[in-house]
């Protein structure tokens, strides 16, 4: 039974510790790699290649291969759950291979790391590839509102650079194409209760996340997940992440065909595949059944597949339009066309070829330029295409390419109950509201799909079990997670809709508003993410609460909008493609740090994330709800007939909306008058980013800094307006001017007499802030400075709409980095404790 739950996958990566007396521990996939990267550590050296990690360490090696006698002494385990051995014994020999042995190996690696016999950098990537991720306090620091203090972790060893061993972390759980069954929901409920905080969190990429997980409980969790056909394998790390797909696939009115089985085939084919072991960064695939709707969001993925058909000799052939190099992140890219049509038999080999090219030629050292979009940028899509098709020709034939997609169309889901009609219900407004927003007709007559709205993607263990009951009662267990952090129950007979609604409502899962403005999407932000700058979930919760309270009075045009929030510029909340996007930044007001959000406009959710927005203004976090009110009121008042928000913004111009929001930044009260403004949503502590920032330096506060940087922000905003108006060259050049303005503002903090001469600004900036590393970001290092240098080196270039858009986005990020550097310069150095 269990073995059927997993499909076998290729290129298993096992970790073998060859314990030959002395000095060599080897982790080997059994296949040979190509490129070697070497880094040296104290008393050790690590050589990493495509599928092989070799660690040479100055410690006694051990035999940890499960086929060898175990000589390992188990370390002290004081936080492993008491049932750990029970689960291990219960599933011994019953889990599908290689999943079972890989979990055993991970357990061994945990032991070895505790004994200092695996280097921390290698262990970090190892655990990431198994879905074990750090949380905000995992560097051992925590701000208490007045200072960042050290948490009294036992302090040995670490799980990776600056990652405390004792810090419980997040476990990401892959759900290919979001497909789940009742048994899997029940297992998620058990694990959320026993190992986490009682909440399972659905992510914007159809995964689950559990928080506050002790790493030593990881293997037990993984065994219990594996027993119901779920893996955490490669949920994080430089690997192929969850393969997402439109949750309506198979039942959608508009789709070309059901992409679900192909998404599933690709997910398991690529998992552990040797050609995916050499990536410098993550790789995210997505499937869509059609081009016009946003459900698959293929344009913003590393690789996107849209169902297509063609007719040859009167016979219809299935295939995919394939795009590559899309992505959000700090500087988003729209994916570019790889091929208009790849047959379903070509799906796996073509993707394998893409992976091989990315693994072979993608950036490895600079992780900020290592996504596939940068390789496509560097080469251009034509060369990238040539390389991919050349690599495709060289691939050795693999029967799985055909076997995995053969007859998969027959695996389509079906109904449990006969088709029906929705019963007439009078006087139940909530049901009618839910019916309108959450229920959608299937292609199959008599059936509907019903969205289950989750607040910020969160669901309790009790609700998960109830959901498992309902899904089993009304369907053949057909439910999916969605990228809007909800569930979708499919194949519900229309006759059962009211009964299902009543059941859902009884467990508080019957909230209407799916996919509407109240259904706010947010990444974890400062709640748990160590990169978070502002509280995206806090703002999301506040907006949701306010919008739900007035949902009945909202104009229909406003109801249809999407709000998406990220805690920083990294876009996990997909703010670039929202109607109203927000991402977290910090600003200094009256000498205090104040959480802010950049308002992002111009994004398009439709057409598979057809266009990306740009920031127009940063406003204090506590005033973001006012910004939403102002923008939506303005939209209702000034839109023309059925004008969509995207078109409205384009017509009225971002400048007018910025003017509308500008007063929210003016006359900010003092800290003593309104201390709440100086804290973030859901967190009454005095706002600080001290728990993520490291390092400090002395400096002087220069009053004109703010003035100069505001001018730089205005320039970058104007650049966006030029782009909107089709003045592409002017847009790119204005963005470059914004770069220079911001750089000069910072240089002036140390050197008043710097001229406006670009070369001098760059030279002084480099000398004072780059060479000294003062400007380096703790997470992305020199990236923002390098963007400045690149913009300067390319001055005079001819811009395309894409390159101008990128330059603008980079300039905005550079300005944020200047703010952050200035914050460091002007912060009091004393309270911050830095852990080595």
């Amino acid at each position: 039974m269990i073995s059927r739950l997993f499909e076998n996958y290729a290129g298993r990566v096992s970790l073998q510790f060859a314990g030959v007396s002395g000095a060599q521990t080897r982790l080997d996939s059994g296949t040979k790699g190509r490129n070697h990267y070497r880094s040296d550590f104290e008393n050790s050296a690590v050589i990493i290649n495509a599928t092989r990690i070799i660690i040479l360490m100055g410690v006694k090696s051990v035999a940890a291969d499960r086929h060898r006698p175990r000589t390992l002494t188990r370390p002290h385990r004081h936080f492993m759950k008491a049932s750990h051995a029970i689960w291990k014994e219960r599933f011994k020999g019953k889990l599908p291979e290689p999943i079972g042995s890989e979990i055993d190996q991970f357990e061994t690696e945990i032991d070895l790391r505790k004994q200092g016999k695996i280097d921390e950098k290698v262990f970090a990537e190892t655990r990431l590839r198994r879905g074990a991720y750090g949380q905000r306090y995992d560097n051992g620091q925590r701000s208490d509102g007045t200072a960042s203090r050290r948490l009294a972790f036992a302090d040995k060893p670490t799980k990776g650079p600056n990652t405390m061993w004792d810090a419980p972390g997040m476990l990401r759980i892959k759900i290919p194409f979001g497909g789940l069954n009742p048994a899997q929901l029940e297992t998620m409920a058990e694990l959320a209760e026993e190992y986490s905080d009682g909440i399972a969190h659905v992510t914007t990429r159809q995964d689950f996340q559990l928080h506050f997980i002790h790493i030593e409980n990881g293997p037990a969790l993984m065994r219990r997940l594996a027993a119901v056909g779920i893996t955490t394998r490669e949920a994080c790390g430089n690997a192929v992440r969850n393969v997402t797909a439109c949750p309506y696939a198979g039942v959608c009115q508009d789709e070309t065909f059901d992409v679900s089985p192909y998404a599933n085939a690709l997910a398991w084919f690529l998992m552990g595949h040797p050609d995916t072991m050499d990536f410098g960064r993550k790789f995210k695939p997505a499937f869509s059944g059609c081009a016009q709707h946003p459900c698959g969001l293929t344009q913003m993925h590393d690789i996107g597949y849209t169902a297509a058909v063609r007719e040859i000799d009167g016979k219809i052939e299935r295939g995919f339009k394939v795009v590559v190099g899309g992505g959000l992140g700090p500087v988003p890219r729209q994916a570019r066309l790889l091929t208009e049509f790849a047959s379903v038999e070509e799906l796996l080999p073509l993707t394998q070829a893409v992976c091989r090219v990315f693994g072979k030629y993608g950036e490895k050292k600079n992780r900020n330029a290592a996504r596939i979009k940068f390789l496509v940028d560097k080469w251009g899509i034509e060369k990238f295409r040539e390389e991919v098709f050349a690599a495709r020709k060289e691939l050795r034939d693999d029967p799985r390419w055909r076997d995995r997609v053969k007859n998969v169309e027959n695996s389509a889901e079906g109904p449990l109950k006969p088709p029906g009609q929705i019963p007439a219900v009078n006087g139940n407004d909530i049901f009618q509201h839910w019916l309108k927003a959450n229920v959608r007709d299937q292609r199959q007559p008599g059936y509907v799909m019903c969205a289950v709205t989750l607040p910020l993607g969160d669901i309790t263990a009790d609700q998960l079990r109830a959901l498992a009951d309902f899904v089993g009662r009304y369907t053949r267990g057909t439910i999916r997670t969605t990228v809007e952090q909800n569930f979708l129950i499919r194949w519900v007979s229309k006759s059962d809709v009211l009964a299902l609604f009543n059941d859902l409502e009884a467990v508080q899962l019957g909230q209407p508003g799916a996919g509407s403005i109240v259904d706010v999407t947010a990444c974890p932000g400062t709640d748990t993410c160590k990169l978070g700058i502002s509280s995206s979930r806090g703002l999301g919760g506040e907006l949701r609460q306010r919008l739900v309270a007035k949902s009945h009075e909202l104009d229909e045009a406003v109801t249809a909008l999407h709000i998406k929030i990220s805690g920083c510029f990294n876009s996990c909340g997909v703010h670039h493609v929202a109607d109203l996007g927000f991402y977290g930044v910090s600003r200094t007001v009256n000498g205090y740090k104040v959480p802010h959000f950049q308002v992002v406009l111009g994004g398009q959710w439709e057409n598979n994330a057809g266009s990306y927005g740009l920031p127009i203004i940063a406003i204090p976090s506590k005033r973001a709800p006012d910004a939403v009110d102002r923008i939506t009121d303005y939209y209702v008042k000034h839109r023309q007939k059925a004008e969509k928000f995207y078109a409205f913004v384009k017509r009225v111009g971002k400048g007018s909306i910025r003017d509308l929001l500008e007063p929210l930044n003016q006359n900010l009260p003092s800290h003593s008058a309104e201390p709440g403004l100086y804290s973030d949503w859901g967190d009454p502590r005095q706002y600080s980013i001290g728990d993520i920032g490291v390092g400090e330096c002395a400096g002087e506060v220069v009053s004109r800094f703010q003035f100069e940087l505001t001018a730089a922000e205005r320039l970058v905003f104007e650049a966006g307006l030029h782009l909107d108006e089709g003045e592409v060259q002017r847009a790119g050049e204005t963005a470059y001017a914004a770069f220079l303005k911001a750089a000069r503002a910072l240089v002036q903090v140390q050197y008043d007499d710097v001229s406006s001469e670009p070369d001098e600004i760059i030279s002084e900036f480099k000398k004072r802030f780059f060479d000294t590393q003062l400007f380096f970001d703790p997470f992305v290092g020199a990236k923002f400075a390098n963007d400045l240098f690149a913009a300067h080196a390319a001055r005079g270039e001819q811009f395309t709409p894409d390159t101008a858009h990128h330059r603008i986005a980079e300039a905005q990020l550079f300005i944020e980095a200047v703010y952050n550097c200035h914050n460091k310069l002007t912060s009091s150095p004393s309270p911050i404790t830095v852990r080595a």
Partner: protein, 197 residues
Amino acid sequence: MELQHLVIKIPVAGALAVDPAKTVDLFHQWVARQTVPGVLLIDVAELLHVPDGPGVIAVGYEADFALDHTGGIWGALYRRKTPLAGTNQERIAQAVASAAQTALRLQEAFPGALNFSRTEFELIVNDRGLAPNSAGTYATALPEIETSLRAVLGHANFKLTRHDRDLRQRFGVTVESAQPFDLAALAGAGSREVVTH
């Protein structure tokens, strides 16, 4: 049968008369001051947006403390995460004491606005591997729970009601005492050095 990872929840008596969001600030203070002996507090999880959910949690390394709303019932919750040495009876006493201490701390923080039951609490074994929700677990665990509670409460005049018999649920009982208990006495009864494996 080893009873580890115990959860004790003491329900609020009457209606909740305090904004639960205020516990966010309180718990941050607990973390900042590390006010719970034997537990390293690391974070605060605010989950008030989830209906009938975990409420607000002071997340600890060894244990969590919460103003919990699971099942739509507000209560002071203690959840032991790391295993404890000792006997089952000692572990039950320790968990009850820690929950009582949590309730007292909450009451002190919100005087007059937050009161907890003096006659009832829930005891859950948060580990299906050790204690599946079966009749067998009930039969085995019941005598030990009864013995321990007699010592903790100081009398035998209480009733144990098994929770939901759904095998998917965790094993748990509701304890109803015929005589009101004193939270301070309960808090003191199990207070001793916490020893981990």
